[in-house]
């Protein structure tokens, strides 16, 4: 086994191939914009995209069970708008309490998603599509055409202010936590088991429904958390906040090697995928690509990375087969 060639090692792990993609991307960007890797800029990459990073973990869990959740940014808006308004009308100004409330709203939204998907057997994309409209609609209804702005959320926004450690602490905590859960706990293994083969999981005594409900609840929790974080970072709550951004989160997972068919994906891969999305978002305006062409370039990069990943994956499978034949 020790004889495994360098090439085999490289292609043997999706994370490593992603890391290579990342390095190539960074080299290109640094050539075009030499100051890209300055510490302040790196910090901004994580802060500006903290929401994508956080929600990608939930999406990982959901996609591992072969599901998908497109209601996440609506949950985010509902939670974010609620805590924005709570401050605007001077109900609550305690940062910790606001985090708890926003996150609990997310938990509720996610739990209902999970319940319907698991018990009523509604296809995840259909169910979450419904809730995409419902939670977004709730955000509009409670906002009553008002925004919570900088002055309303003053104090609370210090948590996510540029230079405050808040968003970074949250990122580190959730990533370490999920790394441990997904790798070393029974619950983590159950999610993989349900995604790989739900029937086999059921036969081996896993409560599949409960696992499915859990992953959507986790997704909701993280979306709620992202909603609170969003209000804190951008010092503003609007009902249309982060509209359409669920696609960035799904893209982060897909780039990170999470399979749409379930059972395959890792926290490390998700992190790298989200990092690539974040770097693209940060780099596009910096390297001097014309504003109107930025989305075009973004799409091309995403597709290129995914195709590269699929090819590596196939090479890996082929090698595994070869090894088995020997």
């Amino acid at each position: 086994m020790k004889k495994k060639s360098f090439l085999a090692k490289l292609t043997g792990s999706r994370e490593v191939s992603l890391l290579l993609v990342l390095i190539v991307l960074l080299i290109v960007i640094t050539i075009l914009s030499p100051t890209f890797l300055a510490p302040a800029n790196i910090a901004q990459i994580f802060r500006n995209n903290a929401l994508t990073f956080v929600m990608a973990l939930g999406m990982l869990c959901v996609m591992l069970t072969a599901g998908i959740d497109i209601s996440i940014t609506s949950t985010l808006a509902f939670a974010g708008m609620t805590i924005g308004l709570l401050q605007k009308y001077n109900v609550i100004h305690n940062t910790f309490l606001l985090f708890v409330i926003g996150t609990l709203i997310g938990v509720g939204c996610g739990f209902i998603n999970g319940l319907i998907i698991a018990k009523a057997k509604v296809a995840p994309i259909i169910c979450t599509m419904g809730f995409m409209y419902i939670w977004r609609g709730m955000a509009y209804v409670i906002s009553n055409n008002n925004w919570a702005s900088g002055a309303d959320v003053a104090g609370f926004s210090d948590f996510g202010k540029d230079g405050s450690p808040g968003p970074y602490v949250i990122l580190i905590v959730v990533y370490v936590l999920f790394f441990i859960i997904m790798k070393w706990t029974r619950f983590g293994r159950r999610i993989y088991a349900v995604g790989s083969n739900a029937e086999a999981a059921r036969v081996s005594g896993i409560n599949v429904d409960r696992t499915v409900i859990s992953v959507y609840t986790i997704m909701g929790l993280l979306a709620g958390l992202a909603g609170v974080l969003s209000v804190s970072i951008y010092a503003s709550a609007q009902p249309n906040m982060q509209y359409g951004k669920e696609m960035d989160v799904i893209a982060a997972c897909v780039i990170g090697g999470v399979s749409m068919n379930g059972g395959r994906g890792s926290v490390t891969g998700t992190f790298l995928g989200a990092l690539i999305i974040a770097i693209i978002a940060k780099a596009l305006p910096l390297v001097g690509i014309d504003a109107i062409a930025q989305n075009l370039v973004k799409g091309i990069i995403i597709l290129a990375v995914v195709i590269l990943n699929v090819v590596t994956q196939r090479m890996m499978d082929r090698q595994n087969l070869l090894r088995r034949e020997m």
Partner: protein, 368 residues
Amino acid sequence: MKKKVISLVLSAVMAAGMMAGCGQAQQAAPAADAAAPAADSTEAAAPAADTGSAGGGKTIALVTKSAGNAFMELLANGVKEAVEAAGGTLIVKDPSAATADAQITEISSLISQGVDAIIVSANDENALSAVLNEAKDAGIKVLTADSDVAAADRAVFVNQADVNLIGQTLLDAAYDLAGGSGQYAILSATSQATNQNAWIDAMKAAQEADPKYAELELVEVAYGDDEPQKSTDQTQALLQNYPDLKVIVAPTTVGIAAAAKVLQDQGSSVKLTGLGLPSEMQEYMGTDDAHSCPYMYLWNMIELGNLTGSTAMALANGDITGAAGEKFTAGDLGDYEIVDVNGATQVVLGPPFQFTPENVKEWADKGM
């Protein structure tokens, strides 16, 4: 056990919902006289409130850019005041998304409903053409406010401020804050936004027209898509790409707030001006180094609404047709004349209003 967990979570959700409800109840008071906001409840709520006083008056419809837009809410409040003062009834339609498609749907249903006049704040300059002409054929008066369509598709445009005047004002602000020379950049909304593009073009034209601005250099027009996250990325990129940048001009309310936060958080010496809402910008306004925005501009959206409402009533009553030279009285605002700007007829509210650290709180408290 499982049931316990379920009921626990459900009650948590309900509790959260109630808290959300609290927030809503409190805000209901100041907004009580506002036009009903949510996209589909408007139809029933708005006319019902006025059936008593209307007494055969005209029914005016306002199609805003989208639901959940505080800016449009102010406009709607102003229109409602003026229309009701003139004995009419206002229906407000907030499209679910800020797209031309969503507006077309709303306008179509208004045509079949048979209103007397439709006011549109257009999401697209050309895409509404067919449906607006359909409305005209049905005998409905069509006018635009805040954001225009092609001149042939409407009777008149109620303009917040003359495009050239806004361009000139913003350019002068950049000139003043840069100290007469140096680099400045523009942070706009989307690259297709009708208003922003017209103002930016006017800025460029004004700069070319006068040698006074020769030392001033526009380095880039960035687009933040009226999205806090993207506007933040774009502002940071401007700061990084142009270390000598002196001023950022953001002629869009979302962009200016996002840029203000970036500049202020970073303690940047770059100064900011543009068009912003007082309530959104209160935090960031000040002449010292701790604040990013010394002054900015906007128009009084409520007055724009008043003027729009009066114009709509005058059209519906047949007092005016939208031709240049016609005069009418817009309530307390006084007399207005329809003018011809490059072949398009307009009513212009007045010059943009300057917000300073001194008056910003007063206006924010007024709900602007």
